[in-house]
């Protein structure tokens, strides 16, 4: 080991790499626990890449083969059921971890100067995760996913001007067909992983350059810090092992269902639901009346969510006070309301018929 390091050090500037790795400190304070969630999301993404590649060994896209190949994976392939179940569970936990990570950073105002781009790259990672979920959901080509994708892409089609183009682009035609499946497969295993990796690298590199931030309200009160490398990283590892255990337990004791094969000429079954992280938006659209001030209710909903999304992405430039060390109560209030709204609408979506 020593020999190898020396060998490398004689040729490359390893010490620089090491000091770069050691550069970052983690402030120690009572809200320390939130620092783990970004790392958890990262770990779950790594699980997704590994299990996703394993699924690719047997998965066959196509309306006539997709469902059958997933069935083959979960019934015939050794441990195939486990890998598929882990991929599904870990996908959901990854989005959950991203939600928590995002809101904890929002409340701590860590997006303030100089970390605006860390926030923006993080938001893109968040949207890309949802894209992963939406595209992956269709891949097993079962009834629920088929109709959920119809509904989801139809909502995209309601957007003024570009809606029709988006719908045809997403579906690869007017209808959800095998062509849609090919596209979603391409997005899911090639386009999204590529883009995601770029944003992830940027996100992590910026954090490494700038170091960990301190929640605004704790600034000036930090007495102790811990080096990220190796101290915090070892803690991260311990948490990751815990997360792996949780994923494994869920995957084994609640194996992901496959359902019934999609058939475009069958009536939609009851219980069509989007994935839980789309549920709050979906449920809101359902509650909106057909018309709000002469505008189609659905459009108001879509417009509202798009606007909210854009505002959140641009938050560092909107909340200027945070850079001057002032905690604007409006951000906290809106943040809390958003969390409550998301939770309430999700629950309503799963309970009310």
């Amino acid at each position: 080991m020593r020999g190898l390091i020396n060998w490398l050090a004689e040729r490359y500037q390893i010490d620089q790499l090491l000091s770069f790795a050691k550069k970052k400190d983690v402030p120690i304070h009572k809200e320390f626990v939130w620092y783990y969630f970004g790392g958890i999301a990262l770990f779950l993404f790594i699980i997704q890449v590994f299990t996703g590649i394993l699924l690719l060994l047997y998965y066959k896209p196509g309306a006539d083969t997709a469902f059958e190949s997933v069935q083959f994976i979960v019934t015939k392939v050794k441990y195939g059921w486990l890998i598929r179940s882990i991929h599904s569970w870990s996908a959901n936990l990854m989005v959950l971890a991203a939600f928590i990570h995002m809101f904890s950073n929002l409340f701590a105002r860590t997006y303030r100067k100089p970390r605006e781009l860390t926030w923006i790259s993080g938001m893109f990672l968040f949207f890309l995760s949802m894209g992963f979920g939406f595209s992956g959901y269709l891949l097993p080509w079962n009834e629920l996913a088929f109709f959920a994708t119809k509904v989801g892409t139809d909502i995209a089609g309601a957007v003024p001007i570009i809606g029709e183009y988006m719908l045809v682009f997403l579906r690869g035609g007017q209808d959800v067909t095998g062509g849609t499946l090919s596209r979603f497969f391409g997005f899911h295993v090639a386009v999204l992983p590529g883009i995601f990796t770029l944003f992830l690298a940027a996100h992590l590199a910026i954090i490494q350059f700038q170091g960990m931030s301190t929640p605004l309200h704790l600034e000036g009160k930090i007495k102790r810090k811990m080096p990220f490398f190796p101290n915090f990283m070892l803690r991260d590892l311990v948490v990751w092992i815990g997360v792996l255990n949780v994923v494994a337990l869920l995957a084994v004791f609640f194996p992901w269902e496959l359902g019934v094969k999609a058939d475009a000429f069958q009536a939609a079954p009851a219980g069509i639901k989007p994935e839980w992280y789309f549920m709050f938006m979906f449920q809101t659209l359902k509650f909106l009346p057909a018309e709000v001030f002469f505008i189609e209710g659905e459009l108001v909903g879509i417009g509202g969510f798009s606007l909210a999304g854009i505002l959140v992405v641009l938050l560092p430039f909107i909340d200027r006070k945070s850079s001057r060390g002032i905690k604007h109560p409006l951000v906290t209030i809106l943040g809390v309301l958003a969390v409550l709204f998301i939770i309430a609408m999700t629950i309503v979506g799963y309970t009310i018929e």
Partner: protein, 147 residues
């Protein structure tokens, strides 16, 4: 004088370079964008689809059939009358079904309801279903688009 000359020469070169890059970029991006747009398949003009025999359906029963690339719904009402519609819900595209217990056409996705004339009567659907024409020749049922 001398400085001005270099400046204008540099400006010219910048325009040339920028123009070349823009053209090159356009040359690459244009076909890529066009490729992503799926070609329109010629829509087979459906004149009439055979959906089986009268005896296949008892009163108060229904069946889904292929009407081109869309699902169609054929209903035989309790009175024995045949009705057909495009089975695509006008809300968000789910496929509807006949509910004999409620005597309505029902969409499971968001509980949309249509009466037996295809009129949207409850739930989110904004428009009636597209009606189809039913013809009966001897004991065979044919469905065609409404003229």
């Amino acid at each position: 004088m001398e400085g001005n000359k270099t400046n204008s020469r540099r400006g010219f070169l910048n325009v040339l370079l920028g123009g070349t890059l823009a053209t090159f970029f356009g040359m690459v991006i244009y076909p890529v964008i066009r490729l992503m747009e799926p070609p329109k398949l010629p829509e087979a003009d459906i004149s009439s689809v055979a959906v089986g025999k009268i005896t296949d359906l008892k009163p108060d029963q229904s069946k889904l059939f292929k009407f081109g690339r869309q699902p169609g719904l054929l209903i035989r009402t309790s009175e024995g009358e045949f009705k057909a519609f495009i089975a695509t819900c006008t809300h968000l595209d789910c496929t509807v079904q006949y509910r004999s217990d409620m005597k309505i056409i029902w969409c499971a996705c968001h509980n949309g309801q249509y009466d037996l004339n295809g009129l949207n009567v409850a739930g989110p659907p904004p428009r009636p279903l597209t009606p189809l024409e039913v013809h009966i020749k001897d004991d065979a049922i044919f469905v065609s688009p409404k003229a």
